[in-house]
Symmetry: none
């Protein structure tokens, strides 16, 4: 394969997903890690992307938190474990809602081979789901450029025509008594709607989210089951347990 061809593949994958991991690039190009590394070095020199530990990311025009991209790519073991646990809660034949976001996207690899139907509002989720041959439905709407989530009236409206067995939702803050919160009211609205339409709802939250309160509340604590890890303060977990069910993975 020509060097330029690899470069194009790398850049187009980046445009699709915002961040790519080294291994994904190796798989996609059938080149060795060394070669991809050299490619990334070249492309960074040419100002086409930014290297980060474990892969690469688009150079953000706007000042998004630079750490966000890094957080995505470095799946802390914790996030991945939580995602795996969440995915294990999915049964054959389930129809599930998969929220946009970095926590939920990690669940997708663990859904491989399961006979499920997925509804999502996350643009980045879609290619991954299709690749696994999972039946995927998408909530339409306006595409928010930052998080690449579908939001807005028509997203809500589409959502209203679904009923889910389970909903898996990302979150920015989990607090008592403030409930589950996230920065963008539009996204909060989607989350709220998904939870309402689901028999069971699961909030994926790593330890950094506990005690945090973000701008938009989308649900009370007791309305969803929290999937998290033993890294969370034990007392916080005890208090939460009085109000709702927890699924806690040990690391």
């Amino acid at each position: 394969m020509l060097t330029i061809e690899r470069h194009e593949i790398i850049l187009s994958l980046l445009k699709e997903r915002v961040t790519v991991k080294m291994q994904e690039l190796v798989d996609e190009t059938n080149a060795s890690e060394s070669t991809i590394r050299r490619d990334l070095t070249d492309l960074e020199k040419a100002n086409k992307l930014k290297r980060i530990h474990g892969g690469a990311t688009l150079l953000q025009k706007k000042l998004e938190e630079p750490t966000v991209a890094e957080k995505t790519i470095k799946n802390s073991q914790e996030k991945k474990k939580i995602a795996e646990k969440a995915a294990s809660l999915v049964d054959e034949g389930d129809c599930i809602f998969l929220d946009a976001g970095t926590s939920t996207v990690e669940m997708i690899p663990f859904l491989e081979g399961k006979e499920v139907v997925v509804v999502t509002n996350g643009l980045s989720n879609i290619p991954l789901l299709i690749d696994l041959n999972i039946e995927t439905h998408v909530v339409g709407g306006y595409v928010k450029s930052g998080t690449r989530a579908f939001i807005g009236r028509s997203a809500i409206r589409t959502l209203e025509s679904f009923r889910f067995d389970k909903a898996f939702i990302g979150v920015n803050g989990v607090a008592i008594p403030d409930g589950y919160t996230t920065p963008d009211p539009e996204e909060a609205f989607i989350k709220e709607s998904a939870i309402k339409r689901s028999r069971q709802s699961f909030i994926l939250a790593d330890h950094s989210k506990f005690g945090e309160i973000s701008f938009s509340k989308f649900s009370n604590v007791e309305e969803a089951i929290v999937v998290t890890s033993t890294k969370v303060d034990e007392e916080y977990l005890r208090n939460l347990r009085k109000m709702t069910t927890l699924k806690v993975v040990s690391l």
Copy 2:
């Protein structure tokens, strides 16, 4: 074989594929590697192409902004020209529908900088549009894995809430009197719906589509304007012109 003939072959291959490998050129021309090497050196001196390790590439700025389209689609020059013409029909402030498919995706680079709102049912269109900072709305629905198009009831339903200034639609067959046709009935339904909701509709069709009849009809010939090229049989164009407006680009 004449030197000039080889040069033509090389250049036309390049136009089709953007990059060519040395071995491909050797196979295609039945000349030795040495000869091809000399050809490439000459053509580079004449500023007709750029040599790269392992082959050659077009000498265009396009390489700086490699789009998914350029990689995944074997862009015929014709398709690109048609797309450019179609994009030129978009006015500032328009709200347009952009069909899923390889013809319409080519339009996107030409929309850069235009103040438009785009509604699309093509997954592959979305990252490209966002990248150009174009306000993008997505018809939800089931994701068809082959064409990566959104289809189904909720796609239709979302579509119903929009009204477009212009709709740009891909097609598989353009025939008289059979109208515009495409293989998948679901996709045909989307196209039909988009056309109904648009003040003006444009069908993007290269020469290979004329006289073809596919499975699902989605519109009569007279209900949309055809954007195509001079590569189409002149008589066919004359007949079509009796029924609808044509925009014909010369190659």
